[in-house]
């Protein structure tokens, strides 16, 4: 078991040692770095293949149909067929498009996605760069996607794209606020922004037990952040065709698709890291645990996509600013109080107090909601 547990870490040490025998140390380090980057990119491509297949299969099952089942066993090579189709398609640039911006956008949307992979702890010691500002880095990098998508929407010179681009900006900026606020609760508990330390901080108990509400807020905002159903307004098919990537075809379209799927996976992975204990878990090797948790959350994403209709833009913004942000602020305040009051009293009081506090917040929300609804009905009856 110990052999399997640290398989990839040992492998990298071994390769490094092997290289260091022939090459100067700096060259060996450089090659290791490049190798890691190559691994991450290959990993990303395999992930999108797997996720794409899984999503189509799972949603197919939700809808009482088979999903892809022609190419390869169980249709697993469907993505390869799709990729070949994408490569061979004509690459169209609309006559009136802003060529530079139009062609820049697909690249700009993919780059941050790959950058984010760098700080994900896939297993014990399995992180490309253990930044001490890991979470801040992720927030910063993921905001870059917003600009790229706005460029795509603006550069296409298409009204649907423009509407999609505008929606993206409104949505992603709004939902970043509750997302960061809810993650702050976790950071408060560990006292570190590094994702590795956050995972290590959950060796005794995953943070979802301490902050179930924080997890829910994070999860909802994260779905909105990556434009997944029910918050997929920027590419709302039934309203604005395909939103910001209406005018893209062939490889450029594939880039958007790639970025979208990997972003969705990364968001699930970060949720698993922040709240579900990342690679921590008994018996199985750490990296297996990490993927189990990430895919479990991704499954919920697919589930939502297969079930729920879409919100409207004003309702979406209302949900963020009128509900999630205040709730996240209250949650942050209460969790801070709880953490301070139970400091040094051991684990059990902390868990108990956190759960009670979360229960109280939920109860307060329910009571306020019921009161507001009653008041509303009174007003309606009066009017």
């Amino acid at each position: 078991m110990p052999f399997l547990n640290d398989l990839f870490v040992n492998l990298s040490y071994w390769i490094h040692g092997f290289l260091a025998r022939f090459l100067p140390l700096w060259a060996a380090d450089l090659i290791m770095m490049l190798l890691t980057i190559a691994c991450l990119i290959v990993f990303a491509l395999i992930t999108i293949m797997l996720i794409n297949w899984l999503e189509r299969k799972v949603i197919g099952r939700f809808q009482d149909r088979y999903g892809p089942n022609r190419v390869g066993p169980l249709g697993i090579l469907q993505f390869v067929a799709d990729a070949i189709k994408m490569f061979t398609k004509e690459d169209i640039t609309p006559a009136n498009a802003d060529r530079v911006i139009f062609n820049l956008a697909p690249v700009m949307v993919v780059v941050p996605t790959f950058l984010m992979l760098a700080v994900l702890p896939f297993g014990r010691g399995m992180v490309a760069a253990d930044l001490n500002i890991g979470f801040l880095y992720i927030v910063a990098i993921s905001s870059l996607t917003t600009i790229a998508i706005l460029l795509a929407g603006w550069g296409s010179r298409n009204k649907y794209s423009l509407l999609g681009g505008m929606r993206v900006v409104a949505q992603m900026i709004s939902y970043e606020v509750p997302m960061v606020l809810s993650a702050l609760g976790v950071i408060m508990l560990t006292g570190s922004l590094s994702l590795v330390s956050i995972v290590e901080g959950q060796s005794r108990v995953p943070f979802i037990l301490l902050q179930p509400l924080g997890f829910l807020i994070y999860f909802m905002s994260a779905i909105a952040e990556v434009n997944r159903a029910p918050f997929d307004l920027p590419e709302a098919e039934s309203e604005i065709i395909a939103g910001y990537h209406t005018e893209y075809s062939g490889m450029k379209y594939a880039m958007f698709l790639l970025a979208e799927y990997i972003n969705a996976f990364i968001v699930s992975a970060i949720a698993a890291t922040l709240f579900l204990g990342g690679w921590q878990g008994p018996l199985l090797p750490p990296y297996v645990w990490f993927f189990l948790k990430a895919y479990a959350i991704y499954f919920v994403l697919m589930w939502l996509r297969g079930t729920l209709p879409r919100l409207r833009i004003d309702q979406l913004m209302g949900l963020a600013w009128k509900f999630l942000v205040p709730l996240a602020l209250v949650n942050l305040l209460v969790m801070g109080l709880v953490a301070t009051l139970t400091q040094g009293k051991g684990l059990f009081p902390l868990v108990l107090a956190s759960l009670v506090a979360n229960g109280l917040i939920v109860a307060a929300v329910v009571i306020i909601y019921a009161f507001a609804m009653r008041r509303r009905r009174q007003v309606e009856v009066a009017a």
Binding site: S238, E239, P309, R310, D314, Q315
Partner: protein
């Protein structure tokens, strides 16, 4: 405040939605003037699927027109057949055998269930559901289409009704299959409702959207579920009963808030009522002839006639003028969705882009019938 408002110059944009668009249910086109995401003006453009149905109808003999009625509203070919056939029967005063009347009612009510299931599925697609309700609806539709295939040999373009009856008697094995389909229908509707009726997002997207007050609905001569969702108790099966509808016990569901959500609820309610009618029809259906003998060259007497039925989408009427020859002199179709669609700009103003497709979905159009 004032200075800020005057200095900020905003423009409206004109968005050309359709004729190629995922949720215009075919080739319908809307020219929308937008202020941000809010609709300022909407102009419907129809006619992309115009096929000269009415002119073709004058060229055809009376019998040849029946398959053309299949192609009007291709989701409910059975009720189109019925409306046309009954108009001709009224013109030529043909008596229909009892068993044929029952078979017709069974087919038409099955059609109503198909249409409403598909309409709700399409509405949910427009709301952004990723095909799940649509596919659930289509799954149930498959079973009903199998029944149509057993009876008429065709799934969608049934061409089943004839003047004075129906083309064939029900084949052996039809009734047991029909009974099992009808028995399974309430479960299907319940499942549909569990998925959608109390769904929070469906509610906030549909409630209070596209409100059509009763007086406006009547003013635009809307019919069908659209009118009944506006609280007007007007079902031609009740107010101007035709065929043998007076023998069945069923209710007319009405809306109270006049919005998209009510139209959804009215359709669900009508599906349940159709199941009730089907159950009664299965019990009462007699044995006997299914058609009357007509001369090979069918020439109705001179005169004109208008007959209307409650098709799943509203009042479907055929106006026929006969000059005593083998072809109708004038063949006019009063298509329910074309007239219901006229009210669309009224419903959409002030709403968001996303609501337009929801409202359009709730009107439930089929372009084959709108453009004819």
């Amino acid at each position: 405040m004032q200075t800020v408002e005057t200095r900020l110059r905003t423009e409206t944009i004109t968005l050309n939605m359709g004729p190629q668009h995922p949720s215009t249910h075919g080739v319908f086109r809307m020219i929308i003037t937008l202020d941000g995401e809010t609709i300022v003006d909407l102009e419907p453009v129809m006619g992309y699927l115009h096929r000269c149905q009415e002119k073709i109808g004058e060229r055809n003999t009376y019998l040849q027109n029946i398959p053309y009625t299949d192609r009007l509203d291709y989701i409910c070919s059975m009720s189109n057949n019925l409306a046309y056939v009954m108009a001709v029967e009224k013109l030529a005063q043909i008596e229909v055998p009892e068993r044929a009347e029952y078979i017709r009612i069974i087919m038409v009510e099955l059609t109503r269930i198909v249409n409403h299931a598909v309409a709700i599925g399409a509405l949910l697609n427009d709301l952004g559901c990723f095909f799940t309700p649509m596919l659930y609806a289509l799954e149930e539709r498959e079973r009903i289409l199998d029944l149509f295939e057993m009876a008429s040999g065709s799934r969608m373009m049934c061409n089943y009704m004839r003047f004075g009856g129906v083309r064939y008697d029900l084949p052996p094995g039809f009734m047991p299959e029909l009974k099992s389909v009808v028995a399974a229908l309430p479960d299907f509707i319940d499942e549909f409702e569990r998925l959608l009726t109390d769904n929070e997002i469906v509610r906030i997207r549909c409630q209070g959207v596209g409100i059509l007050p009763p007086d406006v609905a009547v003013g635009y001569s809307c019919t069908g579920p659209l009118l009944r969702a506006s609280g007007v108790d007007y079902d031609i099966r009740k107010v101007d009963s035709y065929s043998i509808y007076d023998r069945f016990d069923f209710d007319v569901p009405l809306g109270t808030n006049y919005d998209v959500y009510d139209r959804y609820l009215v359709r669900i309610g009508e599906m349940r009522q159709s199941v009730r009618i089907l159950e009664q029809a299965i019990e009462q259906i007699p044995e006997g002839e299914v058609s009357v003998k007509l001369p090979r060259v069918f020439k109705p007497p001179e005169g004109d006639v208008y007959h209307r039925i409650e098709s799943p989408k509203g009042e479907l009427g055929f106006y026929l003028v006969s000059d005593g020859s083998t072809n109708p002199y004038r063949y006019k179709i009063r298509s329910p969705t074309f007239i219901n669609l006229i009210v669309l700009p009224e419903l959409c103003k002030g709403h968001k882009v996303a609501d337009v497709v929801a409202i359009l979905g709730s009107i439930d159009i089929v372009l084959g019938e709108v453009d004819r």
